[in-house]
């Protein structure tokens, strides 16, 4: 009798625990199979959540890259307008010098943009994988004109994982003259883009009054730079789309794992409550009958 009531008491405790914690498996011995499945699922879930974090970091980097690209587009189109206007017959050398100083300012702006850092991590966005140091340095002559822009970065890009086996690259190398690999933001030998040198020669041609070169070679070269930046904008858009898709995939994976974990180790509250009621009734009945049996003995009836 006592062992039966003890068994019922233990069942009651276990059910109560299941209902209050929401878990039917808590220790390895409760259900080793379910425990292993749950631990595996928790690990997968944690990995998916990590992909989510990676994606958030990459999205912010991609946004930073995008805003630089927009500004560069503006700079290139301003330089193109200058080249067109300088080629018109009315421009004299004074006007050309004005234009030249505008171009110098544009170069300085462009260098500053190309030296942008990721606001979260402080990495230089356009130094390739040598992103710990400022990638571009401009040199000027005594008159304040820019004579050259040196690149200290490299042409590599980092791959970051956004799903198992799926990697994207958000950072863009500033310069790639290798003829293969990721196209450089400023200089890309594959397409002939070389923004800084093209702007410098525009500046120099304006200063020397060589308007035919301004409207000819320089305008043509700037077109290549415009195309290159446009390509980068499109690439960036593509990366952002992939990031968004991967982000929603990671969160839906994580959600479905939550469901799986709950199915394996979570308590079915309705079922547990029904069992709890049944067990409680049985327990009370057992206590009642025990107390009645214990009261009765022959001794009670002997006068």
């Amino acid at each position: 009798m006592i062992s039966q009531t003890n068994d019922l008491r233990a069942q009651l405790d276990s059910l109560e625990n299941q209902v209050t914690t929401g878990l039917k498996v808590q220790a390895p011995a409760d259900d080793p199979g379910a425990m292993v499945t749950t631990l595996n699922d928790l690990a997968s879930q944690s990995t998916e959540q990590q992909y989510g974090k990676n994606i958030t970091t990459l999205q912010s980097q991609a946004n930073s890259v995008y805003s630089v690209l927009q500004s560069l587009q503006t700079i290139v189109s301003q330089a193109q307008s200058i080249a067109t206007e300088a080629g018109s017959a009315t421009a004299n050398q004074t006007t050309l010098n004005d234009y030249a100083s505008q171009v110098t300012a544009l170069i300085q702006q462009a260098v500053q943009l190309a030296n942008s850092q990721d606001p979260q991590t402080g990495q230089y966005l356009f130094g390739g994988t040598a992103s710990g140091q400022q990638p571009f340095t401009a040199t000027t002559d005594a008159n304040g004109n820019i004579t050259g822009v040196a690149y200290q970065g490299n042409s590599s890009e980092n791959q970051s994982e956004i799903a198992p086996g799926v990697a994207v690259s958000v950072n863009v190398p500033g310069v790639n003259t290798s003829g293969s690999g990721a196209p450089g933001l400023i200089t890309n030998s594959q397409t002939g883009a070389d923004l800084f040198n093209h702007l410098i020669s525009l500046q120099n041609d304006l200063l020397s009054g060589n308007t035919s070169a301004v409207t000819g070679t320089d305008a043509n070269n700037l077109q290549k730079d415009e195309d290159n930046v446009t390509y980068q904008v499109a690439y960036n858009g593509n990366v952002q789309t992939r990031l968004n898709t991967a982000s929603s995939f990671a969160s839906s994976q994580s959600n479905s794992l939550t469901q799986a974990i709950s199915n394996v180790s979570g308590t079915d509250v309705v079922q547990a409550m029904v069992q709890l009621n049944q067990t409680q009734t049985a327990y009370e009945a057992a206590l009642e009958s025990t107390s009645r049996v214990m009261q009765v003995s022959l001794v009670n009836f002997l006068a």
């Binding site: 080793p32 994988t129 992103s131």
Partner: protein
Amino acid sequence: MLGLLGTLNLAGQSLQTQMTGVSVAGQNLANVNTAGYTRQTVDIQTSPDIMTNLGLQGTGAEAVSIQQAVDALLNGQIQGQQSVNGYWNAQQSGLQSAQNDLNEFLSSTGSSSSSNSTTSSGVSTLLTNFFNDFQSVATSPTSIPARQTLISDAQTLASALNQMNAGLSQEKTSLNTSLSNDVNSANQLLSGIASLNQQISAAEFGGGNANDLLDEQQKDLNNLAQLTDISTTSGADGTVNVSIDGQALVSGSKVLDTLQTYDAGNGSLQVQTATGGVSLTLTGGSMKGTIDARDGALATLQNSVNTLASSLITQVNSIYSGGYSLAGTTGASFFTGSDASDIAVNSALVNDPSSFQASGSATATGDNTIALELADLGGAPQSNLQNETFSNSFDQTVGTFGDSLQTANNQVSNQTAVTNMLTNQRSSISGVSVDQEMTNLLTFQQAYEASAELVSTINKMLGDTLAMKSGA
């Protein structure tokens, strides 16, 4: 013809006989709550007849012996089950503590309806976090906070492995202690059984029944069986000889040999005979349960954890040492130590997160090649972990251990049921029923009153007889 005096004698004897019945019922009632007590009954037989000229005439009744209501077969079964009980109880308690050292429990921080907050407490989560942190560093290779998080999580993982290993070693020591305690208890029981043998043999020498001593003997045998499996042979004089694994330890009133523990190497105690030095192969009882828990599930768990830790150290270091820090240095180790007992994060790295070697190139500090390789290591099957990933291999270890403890838990509950059943059977035969003893008491009391009535009747008749003479 018995005659008046003969009948008076008969009545007196009857009074004694019924009195014995009352005292036996009283003894039973007094022991209604005594563990291991066997119900006693008085064996009443008619006294020898005498030849008279009317033929054979009865001379009343006498109590010839007080018997135990005992089922030897059932007692043997209970004794055997004690060994099985002891075995699984010892396994259960040893593994239960190891489960705490393993510290892999699920918990839910939210309400029961939203179980998305299920978390696990142990190394499984720490391993996943550790490899995830490499992902964070790979995504932001020059970020110092990402490196700090990685190093701090790696330290947590290392100290969790240290603690688990220390806990399991401690558990092994306490199982050895518990084995030694069991051996001491067994030796005391052996000498107790031998001295009971002597008393029983002395008591039964005159043809008596050493009932209560036999109960004590059975109790000691059951207790001994709980510690280790024993073979017993009973002698005609109520004595019992005890042997373990074929080694005779108690013969009659003599303890032939006792038990002692010895170190069979690597600090794992085993049991042997103290004088003979014969190592014993135990097959049941808490001693065997303790040994099996220690050398079975516990050892497997500790080995798996150590294999995991040493693979982790080797694999992480072999990738990591080829990387370059933010300052361009290379060749350092990430982890120091060789297994779970001494795994630690390289202290130079702890002091300077920038020295974490994430880059694959001395000149490109922002490169993430090595960090990414380390992150991918988390998902790579390891040849010395049965081609499982670190995390899956540990989860599997948890599962294997859980299986062992679950088996022990189930066996304990099954054994409890079996033992309860046998104990109930024994109670129905040997147990004291208050109702029955009260009925016996009444019966003997009535018979005693009747016999007393007989005495007073004979007394009156004797008086009448004497009055006849004096009145004449």
